[in-house]
Every structure is written in structure tokens, then in C-alpha cells.
């Protein structure tokens, strides 16, 4: 009798571990499914973008700028969670950036910029405040280089704080200085370096 019980237990366990294994596989498939869905969504979005007027490309750059500004404001407020959210949003917007209407040379440059910026945005989405700010510095450089190619609808102010990490720049829609690298600790540190139209 004891033996029977033992065998049953072993069988049950073997069954359970097998189920666990298959569960793992199923999960993987789910992930694949999701990526497929998002690709499909992406196609749809591209299609709808194409239908929009020729300004649609410029509006992609505008969307990136809007997300960047939201991120900058979260850093000014020293709000880690808000910054993380803004970083993730920016990452998504960058993925959807349609660069097909730019010249080959510009496309290459934009592609490099987007790949790099996406990585920084992604890290901001999952890091502590000090890391978020480190990544924001390089991200700002990427976005400035992007604006040099895409232009901007709104006037932008390139601002500069000489204290953070040997001097660091950022973009703002507002002339007044609100320092994203220090927040309230040194809110007014910095100056306008350049006005970008």
C-alpha cells in the first residue's frame, strides 16, 4: 500500500513538472503573439500616417518633443515614477517615428539617433533618479541632433547647467530656467545657450 502511494506521488509530481514545462512554452508563445499584434498595430498606424497630409512626419518629431518635454518636467519635479512613465512613453513614440520621407543621409543619422535615444528612454523607464538624470543628459544630446534635422514647430531654448557632470544641456519650450538635473535643489542653475526656431 505504501509503495502504491509513493508511486502515485511521484507520478503526480512528474506530471506537475511536465505541466510546468509546457506552461513555460505557452508563455513564450504568448509573447510572440503579442509582438505580432503590436507589429500589426504598427502597420495600421503607418497606414493611417500615410493617409495624413505631408506634415505627418514633422508631427512625429513633434510627438517626440512633447514626450521629451514631459520627461524633462518630471525630472524638474524630481518625480521618479512620473519620469519613468514619461521615459516609457517616449520609447514607444520613438519606435513609431516614420523617417521614410527624409533623404538617405538624414535617415541614417536619424536611425542612429533613434536607436540611441530609445535605449536611454528605456533605461529612464526602469532606473533610479540619479541614473535617470545621467541618461537624460545623453538623451538631450540625441534630441538636439534630431531637431537639427527635423526642425521644430515651436521655439525651443537650449539651456545649459555648467555644474552637472562637467556641464550639461537640455531643451525647454520656456525661456525661464528650471533645471532638470537638480530639480528644487538648484532649480535656477543654468542659462539659455541658444534659441532654436
Amino acid at each position: 500500500m505504501k509503495k502504491v502511494r509513493l508511486t502515485t506521488t511521484i507520478m503526480v509530481m512528474a506530471f506537475l513538472s511536465l505541466t510546468a514545462m509546457s506552461c513555460k512554452d505557452v508563455k513564450k508563445e504568448d509573447v510572440n503573439d503579442n509582438t505580432m499584434h503590436s507589429e500589426m498595430n504598427h502597420d495600421k498606424m503607418n497606414a493611417s500616417n500615410d493617409m495624413m497630409d505631408s506634415n505627418s512626419q514633422n508631427s512625429d518629431a513633434q510627438k517626440v518633443l512633447a514626450d521629451y518635454m514631459a520627461l524633462k518636467d518630471a525630472l524638474v519635479e524630481t518625480d521618479k515614477d512620473k519620469a519613468a512613465k514619461a521615459g516609457n512613453k517616449l520609447n514607444n513614440t520613438l519606435s513609431e517615428f516614420d523617417i521614410s520621407n527624409y533623404t538617405a543621409e538624414q535617415q541614417k543619422e536619424l536611425k542612429d539617433i533613434i536607436t540611441d535615444a530609445k535605449e536611454h528612454a528605456e533605461h529612464i523607464g526602469k532606473s533610479e533618479m540619479d541614473h535617470q538624470r545621467e541618461h537624460f543628459k545623453t538623451l538631450s544630446k540625441d534630441i538636439m541632433d534630431m531637431v537639427a534635422i527635423t526642425g521644430t514647430e515651436n521655439t525651443l531654448y537650449q539651456q545649459f547647467c555648467p555644474m552637472y557632470d562637467g556641464g550639461s544641456a537640455w531643451l525647454s519650450m520656456n525661456k525661464d530656467i528650471k533645471n532638470p538635473y537638480y530639480g528644487s535643489k538648484m532649480l535656477k542653475c543654468g542659462k539659455v545657450q541658444k534659441e532654436i526656431n
Partner: protein
Amino acid sequence: MRIVKIVALVLLVCFVGIQFMPTELNQSDIVPKTDFLLVNNPPENISTLLQESCYDCHSNNTDYPWYNKIQPTAWFLENHIADGKEELNFNEWDAYSNRRKNSKLKSIISQVEDDEMPLSSYTLIHKDAKLSKSEKTLVIDYMKKLKGNLE
């Protein structure tokens, strides 16, 4: 008493069961032309440091420890290596654009400076991988030089 026995047995069976689950090994004999060491050709001591302290998780070839034969540690390692390679793969260095190289170098410098890399869970067992203070300075100075050349 009986319950203890059953629980022990269940755990044992689970442990044996998961040993059969497959893991993908991160191993390759080929060092691509894009490899960091091939492209930058750093001094011998720097190469050795990078290979000992970074390459296990940041390249296509891991020098596996014995405990990789045992689950669930093998999964744990598999995940770490996959994450590590996604962040930075020294074997693919030259495939990165200059912009990305610059970003990577910045991250390498700050991670080593802050003792975040190599991971403490890794150096706990790989004593050789731990960077001493002078080794840290060597690596950081070298990476800073590379970064300077890019700018």
C-alpha cells in the same frame, strides 16, 4: 513525520524534474571582426581585465562555471547573460554607431566607477573578476580615452 517525508520527496522530484529542462548555452568559437578587443587593440593588461571581468556576460562566449550544470542556477545565469548581452555585447562593438559607442562608453565608465559592474552576485564566486581599485582606474582611464577619441 509522514508529511515531512512527502514534502521532502516532492521537493526532490521537482528538483530532479527541472534538471531535464533545457538551457541554451552562450558559447561560440568565432570572434567576429567587430569585437571590441580586435577593433581597439587595447594593451594586454586591459584585454585580460575585460575578458575576465566582463566577457562572460557581455560577449557571445561564456566560460561557464560548474554550477551551470545544475538547475535552477542555470536559468538564473541564462537570464543574466541574455540581459547583459542585450545591454552591451563586446563582440558586436564595431557594429554600433559612433553615437551608441559614446553612450556605451559613458555607461561603462559610470557603472565601473559606481561599483555596479561587475555584478556583486558574479564576483562573489568569480573572485578573479572583481576589479581592484587600481584595476578600476586602468579600465576607466582607458574607456575615457576611447570616448575622447570619438568626440
